[in-house]
């Protein structure tokens, strides 16, 4: 039989008591924080995984932030294009009226002024700013006004061939390695015939890059000029307007195509956003599984610990009262 010293008997008791107390403190800390893995050493693999998963989660959350940002811009563009289409319909009415003939110069001036008003309306739509005060339809040259009388209404924004990426607008990441570009510029909304960068003005012989570009504004300018040109006679006006109406139809179609384009992109990002939300949920579940405490389990452990502590206290008090000196008188 092993000999036990009195100190040993007491120390063993104290050791056991301390173990019970430490266990109780650990359980209460897990319950309090809701996490069973609170520091790397608790479970190195789980903690390491959580660091990665949390970073992944932030990443995916950011994708949805990018989507939100894209959606805001797309809504701004769609809104502008709806107003633009509306204006174009009214322009077309003026064109049809003009093409019908039987107008005297006063009627023609009234039509010209009406068109001038619509030209201003359309150019303010084309030069609309986004929420940050940057031109919405200038491509990446967003500090440059895309269309103005000063530059003969030739598109001044970014053209795809001027960029490394071949895209006139920037793209943002909406899921891992998946990018969506804003896509619409003044060029693909308003320009119907692309100009030649090496175009030379046939009258002056001077270089006039993109001078032969055909767009909504130039078509309307031509219409206004024709209406005001007294040399264009009563019967000639119909003929002059025929090609202009064709141009306008073409331009209207382009604007609708741009709107469709934006709509398609919006549908696409809606799907991606939903997938991202699912991914975030999955990541949260994984993080939870890795580091969260099972409260039911912890509470039952705590109850067991309390029962052991109570039992220990009772027996310890009894045992430590027993010694021969207490019976010696």
């Amino acid at each position: 039989m092993t000999r036990l010293s009195t100190k040993q008997i007491f120390n063993r008791g104290i050791d056991q008591y301390q173990n019970l107390q430490k266990e109780s403190a650990d359980i209460r800390s897990r319950i309090g924080s809701g996490e069973k893995v609170q520091k790397p050493s608790d479970d190195p693999l789980a903690f390491q995984a959580a660091v990665k998963l949390k970073s992944d989660k932030t990443k995916v959350e950011q994708y949805n932030r990018n989507i939100l940002f894209f959606r805001n811009r797309a809504a701004e563009a769609d809104d502008a294009l709806a107003q633009g289409s509306d204006a174009l319909v009214r322009v077309k009415e003026d064109f049809i009226n003009a093409g019908r003939g039987a107008l005297d110069m006063t009627d023609r001036e009234i039509l010209a002024r009406s068109l001038e008003g619509k030209l201003n309306e359309l150019s303010s739509i084309a030069n609309r700013s986004d929420s940050n005060g940057k031109f919405l339809f200038a491509g990446t040259k967003e500090d440059i006004q895309p269309f103005s009388a000063a530059t003969n209404f030739i598109y001044q924004g970014t053209r795809p061939e001027q960029t490394v990426t071949g895209m006139a607008t920037r793209s943002v990441e909406i899921s891992a390695n998946r990018f969506v570009d804003f896509g619409v510029t003044g060029q693909n909304i308003f320009v119907s015939v692309q100009g030649d960068p090496n175009y030379v003005d046939p009258l002056t012989g001077n270089p006039d890059p993109y001078g032969d570009e055909v767009n909504v504004f130039k078509t309307m300018q031509a219409a206004i000029e024709a209406l005001r040109d007294p040399n264009i006679g009563f019967d000639q006006l119909t003929n002059s307007f025929k090609p202009l109406v064709e141009q306008l139809d073409d331009q209207f179609d382009r604007m609708q195509a741009a709107r469709t384009d934006i709509g398609v992109r919006q549908n696409e990002i809606d799907t991606v956003e939903q997938v991202n939300f699912d991914t975030i949920l999955q990541l949260e579940t994984l993080i939870e599984q890795g580091i969260s405490a099972d409260l039911a389990e912890e509470i039952s452990k705590l109850q067991l610990n309390q029962a052991s502590t109570t039992a220990f206290e009772a027996t310890y008090a009894r045992i430590s009262n027993q010694n021969l000196f207490s019976v010696l008188r």
Binding site: D15, Q48, T140, F179
Partner: protein
């Protein structure tokens, strides 16, 4: 006949008095650390020849014995030593573990914040408020590196401080031990029965176990009764009445760290003989030095590497772009239009050997990484040439070129090391800590938001080409370790895993060593410790013996009186 009875009673009275003394002393010391219970050793007293043959002449206490065995004592000390090693280690590692547990202090969240700001910038490249947030996040990232590494440095300094204190404690214990060697021998010489003072022996064993708790030792018990102590590498710490002194000095290979050694005095000169702790697995000092030399520099090296990788990769991206003013990276400016710089501080620290030739130097150190890693290097000059020794890899000879004179270069797996040696002689050494200063000095290069160069073309402020490249850095493997690549966040996560593993395994070892210690403690205590019930029994035993002997004396006296009365 009554003569013998008197004698028996008196010796019996004396023996039981000694017994009562011993028992009461045991009771008095029952809680004293290191006390060994004492036991009366009664010996036979020669018999007297009487008319009835041989008759006993009473009892005699030959001496008082300690309940102690050197074997159990040493087992206890060794187990305590091994446990203390891990106690010290876990105390330091637990602080680091806690640091890595704190998400708000970690590099990971700062990286995430920075990449979020990069994403926002990709959505809104020309927007000044967005650019300001980006700069603020970048600065937050740099600050995080500094503060994170700062906490590691605090832990390192604190560990070094504890090592200093610990050597002082060891020195105090060695001196006590040498003094006890002297007093034990003295008491032995004075003792009539040649047995030294039990209390001094207990004190000496206690000092030995405290010494073992601080530092791993070998104990040699001399025949003359004195005790010699050797350190694990064979250095003598205490020999008879002489104690050597432990001391610390800056580490040769890393002046920001410490070495522990024994001071050897001969005549007027004192030599510092460094202790090699690489194989030591005992003592608090061993645990502290082990952590100071292994885990802490390794973690700091990796944080430095991460800071360097962060700055380098982000700078590389931004140096290709155009800023809001349409300007590209400035030629001739060291970091161009990079986002981060290191305040002009060299990223690597170079430490020259203590015994290097005067005037010998290694300068112009440049490390070009194809893939970042945190390998440190030692450059050794030998008569045969210059040797370079990457940590954990074999040494290689480097041929110096003459253009410029003394310049050497060494290609390793992940890059190329270039340096310039001047005046170096065989025997000289240089220690290169490649990423030492990165985390402490990383800072933002500029605070003008318009200077962030993320556009792919000078006239397109809305272009986000390089913001997207920044974003893609988040997933790109930019740090190479053992041929595998890690992204910045994965590299940090990997380090978190390593810290967790190291800490956990230290705690597991501590648990194992603690059970061994508890067993050894129990083995010793069950021999050495006082059991009060037992002593209560002894008390009764000696009390009754005393009373019985008194009774014998009383009867002997009555008998004597009776005889006297008969004769009267």
């Amino acid at each position: 006949m009554t003569n013998l009875t008197f004698r028996n009673a008196l010796t019996g009275l004396r023996s039981s008095t000694v017994g009562l003394n011993t028992t009461s002393n045991n009771i008095a010391n029952s809680n004293k650390e290191g006390y060994s219970r004492q036991i009366n050793v009664e010996q036979f007293v020669g018999s007297a020849i009487t008319g009835s043959g041989f008759q006993g002449q009473g009892s005699e206490v030959a001496g008082i014995k300690r309940a102690y065995q050197n074997f159990l004592g040493e087992q206890f000390s060794n187990a305590k030593s091994k446990q203390s090693f891990f106690t010290a280690k876990t105390e330091v590692l637990a602080r680091i573990d806690q640091l890595f547990a704190d998400e708000n202090a970690g590099i990971s969240t700062a990286l995430s914040d920075f990449f979020q700001a990069s994403q926002d910038l990709s959505g809104n490249p020309a927007d000044i408020p967005t650019r300001r947030v980006f700069l603020a996040r970048a600065e937050g990232l740099a600050d995080r590196f500094k503060s994170f590494n700062g906490v590691l440095s605090d832990i390192k300094n604190n560990t070094a401080l504890q090592i200093r204190d610990m050597t002082k404690e060891v020195n105090s214990l060695s001196t006590q031990l040498a003094e006890l060697n002297r007093t034990v021998l003295e008491s032995q010489a004075k003792s009539p029965n040649g047995m030294p003072d039990n209390q001094l022996l207990d004190e000496r064993e206690l000092v030995l176990s405290k010494l073992a708790e601080k530092v791993e030792i070998d104990v040699v018990r001399q025949n003359n009764g004195s005790v010699s102590v050797f350190l694990a590498n064979g250095q003598n710490l205490v020999s008879d009445e002489v104690a050597s002194e432990l001391s610390v000095r800056a580490d040769e290979s890393d002046r920001e760290s410490l070495s522990v050694g024994v001071l050897q005095r001969s005549g007027n000169t004192t030599n510092f003989v460094e202790l090699n702790f690489s194989k030591i697995e005992g003592g608090k000092l061993g645990g502290l030095v082990n952590t100071l030399k292994n885990e802490i520099p390794s973690y700091q090296g990796q944080i430095g590497l991460l800071a360097q990788a962060t700055a380098q990769n982000i700078n590389q991206v931004l140096q290709q772009g155009f800023d809001l003013n349409g300007a590209q990276a400035e030629p001739g400016v060291s970091n161009g239009r990079g986002l981060f710089d290191f305040a002009g501080v060299s990223l690597a620290s170079v430490f020259a050997g203590f015994t290097n030739t005067a005037g010998s130097s290694l300068t112009g150190l440049q490390v070009d990484y194809t893939r970042l890693d945190d390998t440190d290097f030692t450059v050794r000059i030998e008569s045969g040439g210059v040797l370079i020794h990457p940590d954990g890899k074999p040494e290689e000879v480097v041929t110096l070129t003459e253009d410029p004179p003394g310049s050497g270069s060494y290609s390793f797996d992940n890059g190329k090391l270039q340096f310039n040696l001047a005046g170096a002689q065989p025997g000289d050494k240089f220690f290169i800590k490649t990423t030492r200063n990165a985390a402490d000095n990383i800072q933002l290069s500029f605070d003008d938001p318009s200077l962030i160069s993320i556009s792919g073309a000078p006239d397109q402020i809305g272009d986000n080409t390089f913001a997207l490249q920044l974003v893609s850095l988040q997933n790109r493997a930019v740090i190479g370790l053992d041929g595998q690549g890690f992204s910045l966040n994965d590299a940090f996560a990997g380090l978190v895993g390593i810290v967790g593993d190291d800490t956990r395994s230290a705690f597991v070892s501590l648990g194992a060593k603690t059970s061994i210690f508890k067993q050894a403690e129990s083995d010793l205590e069950s021999l050495q410790g006082v059991n009060l019930d037992e002593e209560a029994g002894n008390l009764l035993k000696y009390q009754q013996a005393y009373q019985a002997n008194g009774q014998v004396l009383s009867i002997a006296r009555e008998l004597f009186d009776d005889i006297i009365n008969i004769l009267r």
